[in-house]
């Protein structure tokens, strides 16, 4: 459902109110561009998506009935416009299975390898920047469908339900994609930190029962 603020803004847009147009653009341009940039992965495409989205919104505002929130509707147009661009490119490989994105397990379901805890990193601003940079690169490696879910949910901060509505997915499907995207990114960051800071690698777990059959 739309909020009363949404409803008022939409009414003013339908009346071709210039101030309302500026309100719309200034409120949504960062969100639209942020999503477009990460889904397409490059600035020229993202700029085109940005323009197309606002133009589409204005063209279709008269048929916007307020059945969803205005933000959901705009995110949906943005995701579709950006994915249209990406789908014209050669297909990317799919994500490995979720199990392969987690630690190796013994047959009876215990973690079979040491797991590094790098959450106390970064130690300084430079490392913080490098980690963020590495994260951006890893996000760019996600298949587009996963990337879109991840950006909407974990970067733009949409709820699971709103993300599912925007992308026309079931909540369960969205959660599965989101989890696999997070697992993939966690693994990429872990591999990166492990190579940069080998001293952080934990010793092999010495729990005696870990070796008993």
């Amino acid at each position: 459902m739309q909020t009363t603020d949404d409803a008022r803004l939409v009414e003013r847009l339908k009346a071709r109110d210039d101030a309302a147009l500026e309100t719309l653009i200034s409120h949504y341009e960062g969100k639209v561009f942020g999503l477009a940039l990460r889904v397409t992965g490059n600035r020229p495409d993202a700029e085109e998506v940005l323009q197309d989205v606002f133009w589409r919104v204005l063209q279709h505002i008269d048929s916007f009935r307020g059945e969803s929130k205005l933000s959901s509707w705009i995110y949906r147009i943005t995701a579709n416009t950006a994915l249209e661009k990406v789908r014209k490119r050669p297909k990317t490989r799919d994500l490995p299975l979720a199990e392969e994105l987690g630690p190796a397990m013994t047959e009876d379901g215990r973690i079979a390898e040491p797991v590094m805890d790098w959450t106390r990193l970064p130690h300084d601003e430079l490392e913080q920047k490098e980690l963020a940079q590495r994260l951006e690169e890893a996000i760019a490696q996600l298949p587009p469908d996963y990337r879109t879910v991840f950006v909407l949910r974990d970067i733009e901060g949409l709820s699971t339900e709103e993300g599912a509505e925007v992308l026309d997915l079931s909540v369960a499907a969205l959660k599965t994609r989101l989890h696999r995207a997070r697992l993939f990114l966690r693994k990429q960051l872990t591999d990166y930190v492990s190579a940069r800071h080998p001293a952080l690698n934990p010793p092999n777990p010495g729990r005696p029962d870990a070796h008993m059959s």
Binding site: I25, F33, Q51, I111, T119, D154, G157
Partner: protein, 80 residues
């Protein structure tokens, strides 16, 4: 007793606070005794936390201008 594999399957609901209290408690008990799962969950949560900081709030000023003049041009066209 939950296995590490069970923990992996409950992980997402755990970090999103969607687990029922008794299950959550069993998971906490496992974590208290399993450094591997604890490190895994901490780094999973941390990945989510640093992702939040990537949100871009403003777009570059020249892009703001470009967008507004694009829309104005479009609206000024007779077939718009």
């Amino acid at each position: 007793m939950l296995t590490c594999r069970d923990v992996g399957q409950l992980l997402q609901d755990y970090v999103e606070g969607a687990l029922e209290a008794p299950v959550r408690q069993r998971l906490d008990e496992h974590l208290a005794d399993c450094p591997g799962c604890l490190a895994f969950i901490k780094t999973y949560k941390h990945t989510i936390a640093i992702s939040k900081d990537l949100r871009c709030k403003d777009i570059p000023p020249e892009l703001q201008r470009k967008l507004r003049s694009f829309i104005k041009d479009k609206l000024g066209q007779p077939d718009a």
